[in-house]
Structure formats: structure tokens, C-alpha cells
Symmetry: D2
């Protein structure tokens, strides 16, 4: 069995490995606020089932969740309106298209998308039937990350709201096709707010720990999310969580993960381990290039692939 | 821990459950020979790591592998020319399109497909750099199924070869785009032969047992397939193995599986269990409707979902 | 040479022929106000170069222009900002897709559309660089139809504005791709207003007379539109004016025409003849089913196909 | 009225104008034999209704018809099996896609293509129900060009046949969809032969003269093609004859024309004038760049746009 200091060492190696790829990508620039991120930043946090927390690099730099919010909004939608309602509005299939694709909405059978791409996530947010959906979302994030100070980044939210023309286009198309119910502008406003909630890798690693343990928090012993919901969320992270690089990442790392263009990745690994990475330099698919490589490195070193030989040494 | 007689009982229940869906689908008719299958047939075979074999229904009716052959041809391609060569020719991403789609070849970045759909499988077969690729394929199937009498069904092969216009179209398009090397007619002939190899659920369950145990045969103790190859094959089965129903099946059953329009499904489950089903009645996506429901039933009863709570009772 | 009474007779025959198709289509229902139209209505007006005006059926029933407005907005855009500017923003190619397609915006090279489909027309309206574009549009319509009382139908406009989700989706996508400049909501408002201007077949036949005579009004002798603009407008009417039925209509009728889902068609025929039809029952392509058949009938009877043998008897 | 010497002068000017664009394109290279063409070649031939023939530049260099053959095969199909049969197999709509697109075959309603793109032309060739379709085709070409020595270029045919993978893919897809009847290899062989028939601009201008005069040869006075067939062919040339540049060419030149990647363009102009150009340097759309510009020049100088003011001076 591994000791925390061994893991600290491996995290340092992962960091070195991840950094070697930073020159091959670039910081997201489609929202002015995101373009301000420091391209040299790279950080990671890993939490073991006993609560041992290992950190490396810029693990403490705050960033907005962006698409990682899609996992929380899916949990909230499943909790409030249930499986049948949510999956009558949104599908479960990977698309092979990029995250903000519109083509698939028209050319394929509706609803062909899944809750991990923009169109599906907007529909999922629209399903949340609560008086104040964003407040409920923020409350859920704070509880699952065990961090009450988590809050909205106002500048990013406003930047997002102002620049989100493509998402606006998607929302009106969905309403035109009677898939999105309610006022598109209001739903988009919630969606943009959710994307703009600010966290650190430690916040997300804490959340990943719960996902990795089937909804049960191994530190406090509390069942934080229903097991059936975790199963759905992790499966969708695995098949669709890394945009149109999901298939390749599933082969190489084999860890159910969700990335955001803010540079974060949340990863719920085998052996009940929670991981999160941050690095704002993205590859062409929109995934953190440093984060992806750190997770691939860890998967090999710590035997975290879900199809890894379970009889081999584990952490 | 479960006894074989408990499992026999559960298989009977699964069979009853699966049968209740048979009226909702129909036998494949795009190849005349396949249309001759008996729609009432439904069978299953499950093998435990200790070699205990449980059978139910029409487990012994022979059927042609069809798309299940894609898993064997991928193993053979990886064994003969290696990871780099194979994945320079074929991608790893799910497509969201149906199995014989051509659109994706033109409208998305090449090579966007994966080895589990027709286009990708034809390319994979084209990669196998051996004097007699089909002989090597048949030899591999016989070894992994522990059954030397497995052979080609000539009628199905000829029917396939004669009717396979769409695959012919795909092959010429791939050659036109310089992705397929070699003579398309020769590669198609191999592809059609591979699809037409005849097996039973017991044959495939034996093969699934090896996949479920990371390439090591738990009965004989021999490493039958390299662990890294099994990892790739199982991941692709999981993300792309059930055509454009892969995402939904991953959520519901959570067992890396590959189906064929001949009615078979091979499934490499958690806990080192190998399973195969047969039922020629297909749903609209081209998957055995009885097979899918039997596997979903077993996943729930035996806790086989890869994201199931591992601390619950297992087989 | 034909006498007006001969033409009156032919119009009556055309009307009978057109009526025989009314049961095969239905009134547009995507905007509540349009659904109120009387499906039995069918009318036609034809004006000869000497000003002789022949009318038949419900020629005097008012209807909103809908897509016919696209010809006026193209004229206005070409007049105000010129050829180079307009065609840097919008293409000239037929699409083969339906009028409100979004797919083509994403899957084909931008800008692939033309000013006769919604996306292209919205861009064209956005090009009109005037203090009050709608006022200028209405003024142009009144001048070219020689009818000062033409005005906006407020109910249709409001219905349009409220229901136009798909056009809203298109506008935001175009802005996202930096093709549409300015405020999408403001441009859409103008677009919806233009579509909702109410006319009769006599109004449009008067306008068609000018188009049919290369911009010169043969009655007053005034050059109402520059000849080069008429040439562009008529060519685009011919290749793209009847949605994805343009090719077939060009073969069968061979008259540059533009239809609207309000039930109108404006047609600038050979021999300097202006024609307009009205019939709210549409076929599956969105064209007035009675109008199309009346125009085909007239094309044959009066030798109006632009590739008809010019040496044959003419009107 | 213009004198032949005036036209000779205008052809020289057109030639100079056309040459100025040659550096912006390149010779087709997808078939090895075509790549051997001399990029400096540019020629034109124009024939007046009285038979006066004006020639300039490399008017006498032989070239293979390529897609220009599509107009002859459409005539032959309409003559042998009639309107109903042909247009039950192939549509009339422009596609907006490039000439050898496969996407449209799958994503749009069948049959969405037209006889001027590869898929539609292959179907059209398949419709010709004669003992020796190629012999009949060659005979038709010789009669309409008034040149008995016209023959197949064997090298180009063999090169075409060997390299035509994409067309082979299209043919098998069409057969798979039950649109193409008969043996695809045999139909493709005919199609490749037809494309490889060798002509000069004078041959094609003679043919264009007939098209321009509604099927009647003004020199001999014989009705060479039925008027209704000419009307269809010219309309399809106009809407679809210049690949996905048809709309723009219709606006700019306004002459029903058909181009081939061999560098030829045949153009049936207003005033009963037949024109053909040759220049193997193509633009990105696959049209002869010199030819297109020469035709645009002539259209302006000789008032040949079908929507040109008919009262202006004509040739």
C-alpha cells in the first residue's frame, strides 16, 4: 500500500509531465474574462478515501467551473424531477460532435444529445423545477465540495452572458422544437451563472471523492448523493465528459471525468479516489492539456483505469 | 456468495424477462440468410471465474458473429501491427450515428470513426498484415473460445458478400480518401468472412470470460491476450459497442458489450464474469432486444454495473 | 396577338386547374395568425406591358408578404450599400435545404446561403444602413406597387415576433459567427415587420410588371429600379425563389418567382408580363399549391418559360 | 447589328481578360491523365445562328468532356425512357454541395440530387435502356456536334476508370438504396467512357448552337432535339451546371452552361448563339477559371444574360 508521501512524489512527477505539454495548447479566448488566465498555471489535488489530501502546483488558484457545472446541474435535475422526466428531454448518447454543435440538433433524431454538451445541459437546467434554481445549485455545490465560501464570479458571469450568442442560438432552437420549456433568457441566465461559479482543485477533488465512493462520503460517512444518480453521472462523464475526446480519454486514462473550458477537470477514480486538476491551457478539443496528461500519468502509475487489472498493486 | 443453482434461477428469470420484449422487435432482414432465423429463440450462457458454466434457453443455437467479429479483428490488428499503426487509421470516438453511416466519413474530421462501426472495422481488417488474415482470425476465435470446430457459415458469407453494397460503398470511399490501403474487394471479402463465422453463446461466453479477466484465462491460468489490448477492446465495447444505443446501455447495464445483427451479444462483466446472449429479434438500433433486456436484468441482480457499489453483495 | 378577353378566359381556366389541387395541401399553421386564412381562397392578377390588368378569383383578398418581402429587402440593401457589401455577407448559391435550415450554416462554408432563405434574408436586412430601415422598406413597397395605402398587419407582426423562435436562433448563430452585425433583436424586429406587410395580388402584379421590364415601368415610363439590381433579383428568384422546389419550378414553369408562406407568389414573366397569385393552402415545400399550378398552367398557355421557343405565338 | 470581325475582336479581348486569371487556379490532378494538360491553353469558339463561326486562342486543342457529358447522357435518357422514368430516379434541385458529394445522398431526402452532379449523372446513365448505351451516346455526340471523327480518349478513360474510387463508392451506395438498377461496374464503365470522349471548342459550340435554338439547328433547319428536352437541359444547366458556383455564375453571366473538369464549358446563350470555351486551369469549385471569365466578359459585351434588357443592342 502507498503512503501519502509516495503520492506526493507521483503528483510532482505528474506535474512535470503535464507542464511539458503546455506549449502545445492555448488559453480559451471566446470569453474575454477567461482569456485573462495565466497560461503557466497547473495544479492538482488528490484525496484518498481516508481523507488524506495531496496537493501539487497551483492547486489553490480559483477558476470558474464552466462545463463541470453540467455534472451538478444533472444531479440537481435528477434529484428534483427524476429520471423519467430528465431523460424524456435529453438523451444519453455520445455525439462525436464538438461541445457547442448545432448541427446534431437538426440532423439527428431528437433528442439526440446528452447532458454533458451545451444543448443537453441547457435542457437539463430547464428541467430543474425549483423556486430559485441557481440558489439550489450553489447550495448543492457548497455541500458537495464541503466549502461554504464558494460563490459566483460576477465578471465571468457577465462576460459569459454577453458573449454567449451561440448558446442563445441553441436555446431558441430548442424552444422552437418544443424541447426547452420556459423562458429561454431566464434559463440561459441560470446556465451562465452556474458556469461561472468559482472553485479550486481542492473543492472539486472533495466532490470527486463522493462520486468515486458511489455518493457516500467516506470521511463523514454521510450518503451525499443517491447511488443511482452517481451511477448515471459517472457513466455520462465516462462516455461524454471530455467533449469529442471522450473516447480517446476513456481508452488512455479510463477515469470518469468532466472538463470545463475554464481549465478544470474533475475525475472520480477507481479505488474511491477523488481528483481534480487545473490548467487553463486547452487543447483543440477544449480540454485542459496539462490536466489530461496529468490524469493519464496518474492512471498508469496508480492503476486507476476502470479496466486495469484489479489484482495489481493498488494505492 | 452465490451458488451456481442461484445463478441458474436468475438466468431463468432473465430469460422470462427478455422474452417479454420479443414482440417489440424483428429479425434482421437486410441479408436474406439472416432473415431465416427463428424469432422465438432466446438463450444465454454465463461463466464464473472458476469455470462454472450456467446456461439457459436456446444457448446452443449457432449464429453468425456479425459485428461481434469486430472485437476479434481489433485484437488481431493490435497484435500484428500495434497501437500506433491501428490508431493512425481509425479513431476512438463514439459517433452518435448508426453503424453503417457514411455521412460521418465526409462531414466530420477524418478518421472520426471507431473500430466498432462498419467503416472503422473495415479499416481495422485492412490493417491486419498477415499472409492469410482470415485464417489467423479464425484461429484466434477458436483459441479464445476454446472450440476448434468453429467455422465459417458459407451461405451467410455468400449472402453477405452479395448484399453488402453499402459496405462496398464505404470501402471505396475510404480508399478514395487514402485511409484504406490495399484492394477493397479483397479486404471486404475478409470482412464478410469474419462476420460469417458461426458460434454459440457458450463459445462467446468463454471468450468473454477472458476479456472479463484482463486477458488471463482463470480456468487454465494462461494469458490469452495482452492486458493492454483487453483494456482498449473493453473500453471501445463500453463506449461504442452497442451501436447508437451504447450510451443508454452503459447507463442501464454498465457492462462492456458488443452486439451483432446476427442476434448475439458478448459481455465482459465485473467480478470476472463472462456472458453471452443470443436472440435474433432486434430493436431499431440493431441490438438483440431480448439480449439487451437479459443483460440489464442480470446487471441489477448480480451487481454487474462497473459503477455499481462495490461494497454490496457480489456473486 | 391575344386580346384581354382571351387572357381573362385563360385566367379562369388556370383558376379551375389550381383549385383542383387545394385538397392536397394545408394552410400554414406555424404562426397562429396565418392559420386563420380561408383555405378556399385562390386568386390571380396579370398585368400586360401596356397596363391592361386581368384579374380572377380572390385577387383582392389581402395577405401578408412573408418571404416575398425578401425581394424588396434585397433591392433596398443593394440600393443603399451596394453589390460588394451585400455579397460579402451573403452568398448566391441555392442550398437544397428548406427555408429555415440551420444545418447549412454550420456544415457548409460560410456564407453559403442566399438572400431568398431566412438566414440570408436576415443578413440582408441587417445590411440596410438607413436611419429607419422599415420605413424605407414600406416606402419602397408602396412605390413599386403604386399603392400608398399598403401597411403593416399588426396582428401578424406580433404573432410572428412572438413565434419566431427559429429565426431568433438563426440570428444569434449568425451574430456568433460575426456575419450579422448590430443588435439581433432589432434586426429581427425589422425582419418580422417586413414579412407582415399586407398586399393583394394586384399590388404584387404591379411590382412584378416592373421586374419583368428590367426595372422600367412600361406604364409610366419611369426607371423604378436599376437594371443591374433587377437582373440579380430575378436570377435569385429563379434559382432560389421557391424554397427547395426552385429547381423543379424552374423546369416546369420557368418564371422567376418568389413565394411566401402567407400564400402569395410574385412572378416576373417573359414578354414583360407581371403576375401575382394568392392561395393560402401550401404544399410540403411551403409554396402555395394553387399558385404554383396556376403559374405552370399559364406558362404553358402563354409561352412564358424563359427557355420556351421564342418564335412561337406570344401574348 | 454586329459584324463577324467585331466579334473576332471581342473574342480577342475576352481571351486577354480570361488569361489574366490563369495564375489563380490549377489544372485538375485527381486523374493522372488530366494533370498532363498545358496550363497556358485557353480557347473559345462562338457560332451565330447563321452559322458564322468565330474562333480565338487554343480553340482547336482537344480535351475530354468530363461533366459536359452529363448533358448528352440526360438528353439520351430522356429520349429513350422519357420524363417520368428519369425524374422518378433523379431530382431537379440544386444541392449547394460539391459535385462529388456523398453527404447529400444520406442526409437529405432521396433522390435529392440532379443530373448535373456525379450521383445524379450515374443514375441517369443507368436509365439509358439500350443495347449499347455508350455507342448510342457517342453517336448522339457526333450528330449534335456535326463531327463524325469524335472518339474516346483511351488513356483518359483508363485513368478515369482506375482512379474513380469515389464514383464507385457513390454507385454502390445508390444501388444499396435501390436507386441505381443494374450492375454498378457496368454502369460506371459507361459513365467513365462518356466522360472520356474527346472534343474541341468548335465541336461543343456547334452543339451549343442547337441548344441555344431550342433544339432546331439554324444552319441545316433540322430539329435535332425535341424542344421539351432542350428546355429541361438548359434549365438544369442554368441552376446546376457550374457545380456549387452555379448561382453566382447565373447572376454574373446568365448563360445556361455546363463545365467539365477537363477544362471545357459549353454555353447556350440568348439570341441563339452557341459558345464553348477551353482552359484546363480550374478554380476551387472545379470550373475553368479562364472559361468562366471569358463567358462573363462576353455576356456583358454581347448582352447575353437571359435577364438582360432585351431592348438593348444585340449581336
Amino acid at each position: 500500500m502507498m503512503m501519502p508521501q509516495d503520492i506526493d512524489l507521483i503528483l510532482q512527477e505528474a506535474l512535470l509531465y503535464g507542464r511539458s505539454f503546455l506549449s502545445r495548447g492555448k488559453v480559451a479566448d471566446y470569453i474575454p474574462e477567461l482569456a485573462k488566465a495565466d497560461p503557466s498555471h497547473l495544479g492538482i489535488c488528490l484525496i484518498l478515501p481516508d481523507g488524506t489530501t495531496c496537493r501539487a502546483g497551483d492547486w489553490n488558484v480559483p477558476f470558474t467551473m464552466q462545463s463541470i457545472a453540467k455534472t451538478f446541474s444533472l444531479i440537481l435535475a435528477l434529484q428534483t424531477v427524476g429520471y423519467e422526466k430528465v431523460f424524456s428531454k435529453v438523451g444519453m448518447e455520445p455525439t462525436g460532435d464538438c461541445f457547442d454543435s448545432i448541427v446534431q440538433l437538426e440532423s439527428k433524431q431528437l433528442p439526440p444529445f446528452n447532458p454533458m454538451i451545451n444543448a443537453g445541459a441547457i435542457v437539463t437546467v430547464g428541467c430543474i423545477d425549483l423556486p430559485d434554481p441557481f440558489e439550489a445549485f450553489l447550495d448543492l455545490v457548497r455541500r458537495l465540495c464541503f466549502h461554504d465560501a464558494i460563490r459566483l464570479n460576477e465578471q465571468v458571469y457577465l462576460s459569459e452572458k454577453h458573449s454567449g450568442l451561440r448558446n442563445r442560438s441553441i436555446a431558441y432552437l430548442l424552444q422552437s422544437d418544443h424541447i426547452l420549456e420556459g423562458d429561454p433568457e431566464q434559463i440561459l441566465d441560470r446556465y451562465f451563472r452556474m458556469c461561472s461559479v468559482e472553485v479550486t482543485t481542492e473543492d472539486l477533488a472533495r466532490y470527486a471523492l463522493i462520486l468515486a465512493n458511489d455518493g457516500l462520503d467516506p470521511v463523514t460517512g454521510g450518503q451525499m448523493i443517491d447511488e443511482w444518480i452517481v451511477r448515471i453521472v459517472k457513466t455520462l462523464m465516462l462516455t461524454c465528459g471530455m467533449y469529442d475526446e471522450s473516447g480517446e480519454f476513456a481508452v488512455k486514462a479510463g477515469i470518469p471525468s468532466k472538463s470545463g473550458v475554464g481549465g478544470g477537470i474533475v475525475a472520480a477514480a477507481e479505488q474511491g479516489i477523488g481528483i481534480a486538476t487545473y490548467g487553463p491551457v486547452l487543447n483543440k478539443k477544449g480540454n485542459s492539456i496539462g490536466g489530461i496528461h496529468m490524469l493519464e500519468y496518474l492512471s498508469g502509475k496508480l492503476n486507476l483505469h476502470y479496466f486495469a487489472n484489479k489484482t495489481c498493486t493498488s494505492v
